[in-house]
């Protein structure tokens, strides 16, 4: 083997020649940039990378990545990625979905992808609205939201993507916003995780739901509304890093450091491997609580495709490689002279 170093690709090497057709100012642009940067950082190759999506604004994503790509049908991307990974576990597979695609029409499939622990990176762009169909409420829209299809306010109670992912036995659950400094780091960790990685990205739809996540992205307010999670570190947040999360009984509460004798040691320390804690964190909502960003949960668990291929190996060990004539002649055969 000649040890010529392989050419390293830069973020721009993952861009296609297609015109990006998202609306100017859409949060998807920032996510695309972040993903391209991550691909370069992790040393991905174009030929071994596959982006798969369903239908919706977010699902245009594969057209803009110069890798293999599949823009499939509404809600069904999990089926396609599962087939691809079973057929070729060596591929780096990313799945891009949205709150409508992944939680409404495709909610069932997402759940099964996560519990099976297929080794893919599932990115759910949550803008709390149907963008491509021009502005109807989505499964993550807030109750009472007035849209074209809900002039008197939506009656649907919203679903929480992170709680759903944890309940569906996802082995990696994280969140970031489209403008977040930690987005690249979260995506990098998702890519490194062996198993189904679920990342919710708060994504601004500046046409139909502008400002939905201002509380979590606005320069002036962000620090007071977002809790950045760090494994093994106390849960501290706030512009002045003076607020924290404490557990009273089973209930989390917001405290101010120094007030009433509260010190760092009284706060919760983040443990990414604690599923109960992850479920609690997933349930923290603005404005009563800061919303957690970063990795909520991770666990090491065998992937679906690794186990499947292990069974194939065992079968060959036990029975020898398949032989068609043996298959044809199994059972009771008889000769007609």
């Amino acid at each position: 083997m000649p040890d010529t170093p392989l050419p390293t690709l830069k973020a721009k090497d993952f861009a296609t020649d297609q015109d990006v057709r998202w609306c100017p100012g859409c949060g998807d642009y920032a996510i695309l940039m972040a993903v391209q940067r991550v691909c370069a950082k992790i040393g991905a190759t174009r030929e071994n990378t596959v982006f798969v999506s369903g239908i919706g604004c977010s699902s245009r994503f594969p057209y803009y990545m110069d890798t293999y790509g599949f823009h499939s049908i509404h809600g069904r991307a999990p089926g396609f990625v599962t087939g691809i990974k079973i057929a070729n576990p060596d591929l780096d597979v990313w799945m891009v979905t949205g709150d409508g695609d992944g939680l409404s029409i495709g909610g069932n499939h997402l759940m099964h992808l996560l519990r099976r622990n297929v080794n893919v990176n599932a990115l759910l762009f949550n803008n709390r609205i149907y963008g491509l169909t021009k502005g109807q409420y989505s499964p993550t829209s807030e109750p009472g939201k007035k849209t074209k299809s809900s002039p008197m306010g939506s009656l649907d109670f919203p679903i929480n993507p992170l709680s759903l992912a944890i309940a569906a036995e996802a082995s990696f659950v994280a969140r970031a916003t489209d403008k977040d400094r930690i987005l690249v780091e979260v995506l990098e960790r998702a890519a490194a995780h062996r198993g189904a990685s679920f990342v919710e990205v708060y994504q601004n739809c500046n046409i139909f739901n502008d400002g939905a996540f201002d509380f979590a992205t606005g320069k002036d307010v962000r620090e007071d509304n977002v809790l950045y999670l760090n494994h093994g570190k106390p849960m501290i947040y706030g512009k002045d890093s003076d607020k924290g999360i404490r557990l009273v009984g089973c209930r989390p509460e917001v405290v101010t450091l120094g007030e009433g004798g509260v010190s760092e040691d009284d706060l919760l320390f983040h443990d990414e491997t604690n599923k109960t804690m992850a479920m609690m964190l997933a349930g923290l909502h603005h404005p009563a609580f800061p919303e957690p960003m970063g990795v909520l949960y991770r666990e090491e668990r065998p992937t679906y495709e690794d186990q499947l291929h292990a069974q194939l190996g065992v079968a060959v060990e036990k029975r020898g490689a398949g032989d068609l004539d043996a298959l044809f002649n199994a059972g009771d055969t008889y000769e007609v002279a």
Binding site: T16, D17, Q18, T45, R46, E47, N48, V52, I55, P62, Y63, M65, D66, T67, Y68, G69, F70, H71, S72, I73, R76, P78, G79, F80, V81, T82, G83, I84, I86, A87, N88, L91, N108, H109, M111, H112, L308, Q311, L312, V314, A315, V316, K318, R319, G320, A321, G322, D323, L324, D325, L327, F328, N329, G331, D332, T333, Y334, E335, V336, A337
Partner: protein, 662 residues
Amino acid sequence: MPADDHATTRPADTLTSAVVRFAGDSGDGMQLAGTQFTDTSAILGNDVATLPDYPAEIRAPAGTVAGVSGFQINFAAQQIFTPGDQVNALVAMNPAAFKAHIDDVEPGGTVIVNDTEFSKTNLKKAGYPTPDGSKEPYNPLDDEAYNLKYKILRVPITKLNQEALKDSGMSPKDVNRCKNMYALGLVYWLYDRPLDTTIRHLTEVFAEKKGRPEVADANIAALKAGYFMGETAELFPVRYRVAPAPIQPGKYRKVTGNEALAMGLVTAAELAKKKLHYCTYPITPASDILHYLAPQKHFGVRTFQAEDEIAAVCAAIGVGFAGQLGVTGTSGPGLALKGEAIGLAVMTELPLVIIDVQRGGPSTGLPTKTEQSDLWQALLGRNGDCPTVVIAPQSPADCFRGAIEACRIALTRMVPVLLLTDGYIANGSEPWRVPKASELEPIEVRHTTANRDRDGAGDASHFLPYTRDANLTRPWAVPGNPGTEHRLGGLEKQNNTGSVSYDPANHQLMTRIRAEKVARVVDLVPDLDVHGDPDGGDLLVLGWGGPFGSIRTAVDQARAEGRSVSAAHLRYLNPMPKNLGDVLKRFDRVLIPELNNGQLRLLIRGRYLCDARGLNKIQGKPFLIEEIAQAIDLMLSGDWGDAEALYPQAGGVDVNAQALGV
């Protein structure tokens, strides 16, 4: 061995064929008894054809008509194509089985009943009424009318079986589960069959695989007891012999359609040097394909039981995208769910094989009963102009060939192929001539290995996924190969580049290309073969799928009577054989028997301007030969009137009278 002892005191009648049906409660082991009788007869050299008939409920209330499970075998000293019309010998293990099946027995036929089970309770469970002023329910076995019409033999099978196994050390429940073998032994004696095949089977299953030799011994003891009972009790005035059939020499085994289809898929993958990925969701009557394939992991077969029908087909398409053989299997309701994804496979021009084991519809319909009513769905049931290749095997063994053809076309022409079987051929069985793997034609699959970094200028759009060869097949470029990175999707594709295109002229062009691509598969479709008079005649009976055997037999009978009748059978529904139009023109009349309300008939009329008439049976059951024979009579006598469709006698339907009372 008792079977070698032909020194019986009673005479033996020689028959050319016989039809036996085992019927009992769904927990009575009738399917096993029937399968064993079939295996034994096949090994004896008879031609065989079978028809299992079981309820949709796994265990409907014991003793009720809803819970009756049946298995019919036609075995013959000549070539046969169907499980037979009328039953020559019925085994009825309880009153419900008697009630459900007695009308199918030929007048004068033998009916062996398990007399022990004809109790007051069981007669009531079967729905026999208690006459006014009586404490005892009506018992058909005491009815003079039945006794005049049939040879009814009352054998207390339950009791005799208990007696035979009283020293077996088995629990009463386990003893009772052997009574199917007692009944089978009795029927083996009646038809002069050897016991060795079944003894070997019982030993293998219970003693060797399950490690319960005592169960094997008990079953074998019951089998022998039944046989000796026939020998010694002088119940039967005669026993019957059916000599071996003159079939093509070679090695044979009995296969069901689902089993043959599964073997065909494994074979196709090997021939193509691909790995078979069978992605599916359990559904009757297709689940057995999954059950046959799941243990074939040593062939590298990957089975994926998805969360639903849609995920299953999507995974299969993902497999095709990743460069392997993706197959999904289902029945009618599942095909409806897969429609959108099949459209995506048409648009992305990826190889995909979809199996639909048809059952009675619409909606949930008749899950365990057969029908051919998904033809329109297969051909037309998707949004947009969305053509796929559609193939329909004609018999259980033919499913092997059909599966290989479907995979060959999908893999070499980059097109989804729908394989339509039905409950009748999926669960029915017949002898299959065992092929030699080395004699099967390999499937040559080509992958594009163009490398833009090596061959091109490094331009991202260098690789053109929608260029084509003379068959209009586009290149199959697979993730992992550098230089052919491309994006597929359901949005309309620009010719050559495969980029998203909303151009009107391009959409018209691409729609025509997709249609023409499927049409060009016709060069792989054999010409339609006319059985009878290739140059034409008074009547052509045109069929597809499962009715092949009934049509062939009825046409042969009519021809033996000197009628000008021929048969032709379509295995390719899309594209249809090149010569079909010419064949149709050579006949004065065309009859199309189908187990639906006239789906092929409409297509033939529309495409070929042919005034075809239909024989349409929609009863969850296959055609009887007699029904087709009657339709042939009507067509030839000109008594077919103005009606578009003839209905089989038993199914004469008058919608006004029956639905509206007018």
